[in-house]
């Protein structure tokens, strides 16, 4: 499934190994032979005339933390919304643990925990009530509801703030609360859309540490989007660099960085010593024009709005 279309550049060579779970840190979490957590094949989604997602090929392996990276407007959120059944896609384009959302939306939803890009906790409810609502709508039986909600809140360090209204929470706390809402149904796949957007550096680290702790403890698969390359480099097992609706390079952050370094050396580029960062890789695969195409007015506005709400 990682066999990419021909226009993928050479920086992706390392990514073409679709054999073996090289990347997953927690190898035990992967079910050998089991279906991929997410498989998109030639996914296309258009708003009006323009393709927001334009032939996306993507596989997320069970147990890994996969980062979908790209500038504002790259199509990350649209791709996520296709996977989460929010946008209708034709049969055969998307599979979640082998299930096609076009055939059985409810079965796919039961596998998912979803945290959208906007801050989506209900400000007029307490933290505990927010999580309890999701326990209810995922059919957690009454006798274990309270215990499950308490565990989800504890997993994100919100036990003490649990009975305060969510409108008193800081941005980082709201994100952690949303994580608890997603966790309470024991999803096999956690989907986080820009979980750290607009947060200060300390809150960002906090959110990532909780994501990691939960992943280690439960073995669930994580699909996360971000436009912060440094975070992806640090926390993701594998990343896909997305630009204009398509994944342009795929691999572990180290593979991608080394790939570019090698190539620069081979081409006899400037030996200024600094090893390439993930951002350099991105500039390399996106080519010129990245700056003028990254995000139209609408994208920047919606990103800013989220940032304001968080701040």
């Amino acid at each position: 499934m990682t066999g990419d279309p021909a226009d993928t550049t050479t920086a992706t060579e390392a990514a073409h190994d679709s054999t073996g779970p090289t990347a997953a840190r927690d190898g035990s979490a992967a079910q050998p032979g089991g279906p991929d957590a997410v498989a998109c094949a030639g996914l296309v989604y258009a708003f009006g005339g323009t393709n927001a997602v334009d032939g996306l090929d993507l596989t997320v392996r069970p147990g890994e933390v996969f980062g979908l990276l790209g500038p504002n407007g790259a199509g990350k959120t649209t791709a996520i919304r296709c996977v989460t059944t929010l946008l209708p896609v034709p049969a055969g384009m998307v599979r979640v643990f082998g299930r096609d959302p076009a055939d059985d939306r409810m079965a796919v939803r039961r596998l998912l925990g979803y945290v959208p890009q906007q801050l989506s906790a209900d400000a007029a409810l307490t933290g505990r009530e927010n999580v309890t609502l999701f326990a209810r709508v995922f059919d957690v039986p009454r006798r274990e509801r309270a215990a499950r909600v308490a565990q989800a809140l504890a997993a994100v360090d919100l036990t003490e703030a649990a009975d305060r209204l969510a409108k008193t929470y800081s941005g980082g706390m709201v994100r952690r609360l949303e994580l608890a809402q997603a966790l309470v149904s024991a999803p096999r796949l956690l989907i986080l859309d820009e979980p750290t957007i607009g947060l200060d550096p300390i809150a960002r680290t906090g959110v990532w540490e909780h994501i990691n702790a939960v992943r280690t403890a439960t073995g669930m698969t994580v699909l996360v989007t971000t436009h912060y390359m440094d975070e992806a480099d640090q926390y993701c097992d594998r990343v896909g660099l997305m630009h204009r609706g398509r994944v342009r390079a795929l691999g572990t952050p180290a593979e991608l960085r080394h790939g570019l370094g090698e190539r620069r050396r081979a081409e006899g580029g400037p030996a200024d010593g600094a090893p390439p960062t993930l951002e350099d890789v991105f500039r390399d695969v996106a080519g010129s024009g990245l700056d003028d195409s990254s995000g139209d007015f609408r994208d920047v506005r919606s990103t800013r709005r989220t940032a304001q709400r968080v701040g």
Partner: protein, 286 residues
């Protein structure tokens, strides 16, 4: 589903596990088909009650208008006897109309809120839970009903304090509750449907404000159908609010009413509203 958890939890190593995380690796068993709808409706209604418990200001501020209607309009028109009500004091006659009006305002505004929930991502998140769209809309409709019902209780108490002779027969009050909830289910779905058509917060606010007063004045809430001009009678006949008011009047005051027809219309209207809003909800998700 019978899937085993992805991996056995490595309980000992992880700090989060100190509090126990064992339940978070076991997906809950899906509820059987027919029990899903009542469960979702219950979940949405519980949320409304929790919100009301945390913040009752809306309940009080929204009680001001009906109180003024009853106090000023009701008492004045009772005195001048301008409207033929068949012997009932005018304030008694209009009290059920005011109860229905305040419930309708709440319901229409509740439906408008769905656009806020969409913009805030709350709706998207609910749409990614195992909740069919019709169940989500039904849940929202009944949650609006619960909210309206509590508002209606406040207005009933105000009316009683102003000396309106209301029934305290529990069976009749149960009927009142049913009429309020059904009417609110319809009106909240009406604004959710409009939300699904216009898709924008500003336009929806405008339309919401534009329809509430015509719905109110184009009903039998303030005057009996008999005194209306022909065209207004036609409007009133097509207006579910009229049937709600008729039912409330019959139940609360014991005046002659067409309870069978009233409830039939209210049930049909609510069902139609839920169907229309469910069909358009997908547009809000895009």
């Amino acid at each position: 589903m019978s899937e085993a958890p992805v991996a056995p939890p490595s309980v000992s190593a992880d700090p989060a596990a100190a509090d126990g995380i064992g339940l978070l690796v076991r997906p809950p068993r899906p509820r059987a088909g027919w029990r899903l709808l009542p469960a979702r409706v219950g979940a949405m209604c519980v949320v409304e009650l929790q919100k009301l418990r945390h913040d009752r200001t809306e309940l009080y501020t929204r009680a001001v208008q009906p109180a003024l209607w009853l106090l000023i309009f009701g008492q004045t028109f009772t005195r001048i006897r301008a409207i033929p009500t068949g012997g009932t004091p005018y304030i008694d006659f209009m009290a059920p109309g005011i109860i229905a009006q305040s419930a309708m305002f709440i319901a229409i505004f509740y439906g408008i809120q769905i656009i806020w929930e969409r913009d805030a991502g709350v709706l998207n998140k609910l749409l990614v839970t195992p909740t069919p769209r019709s169940a989500l809309v039904t849940g929202k409709a009944f949650a609006a009903g619960v909210k309206s019902l509590i508002q209606a209780v406040v207005v009933v108490v105000i009316a009683a304090l102003l000396g309106v002779a209301l029934t305290w027969n529990p069976l009749r009050l149960l009927g009142v509750a049913a009429a309020v909830i059904l009417g609110s289910a319809f009106f909240s779905c009406l604004s959710m449907t409009i939300a699904g058509i216009v898709l924008s917060r500003d336009r929806l606010m405008g339309i919401g404000q534009a329809i509430t007063m015509p719905l109110f004045f184009g009903s039998n809430a303030l005057y009996p159908v008999a005194v209306m001009p022909g065209w207004l009678q036609a409007v009133s006949k097509a207006n579910p609010l009229s049937y709600q008011v008729d039912a409330l009047r019959g139940l609360l005051l014991g005046t002659p009413a067409h309870l069978g027809a009233d409830f039939a219309v209210l049930v049909l209207a609510a069902a139609a509203g839920i169907t229309a809003a469910s069909a358009l909800l997908g547009r809000l998700a895009r």
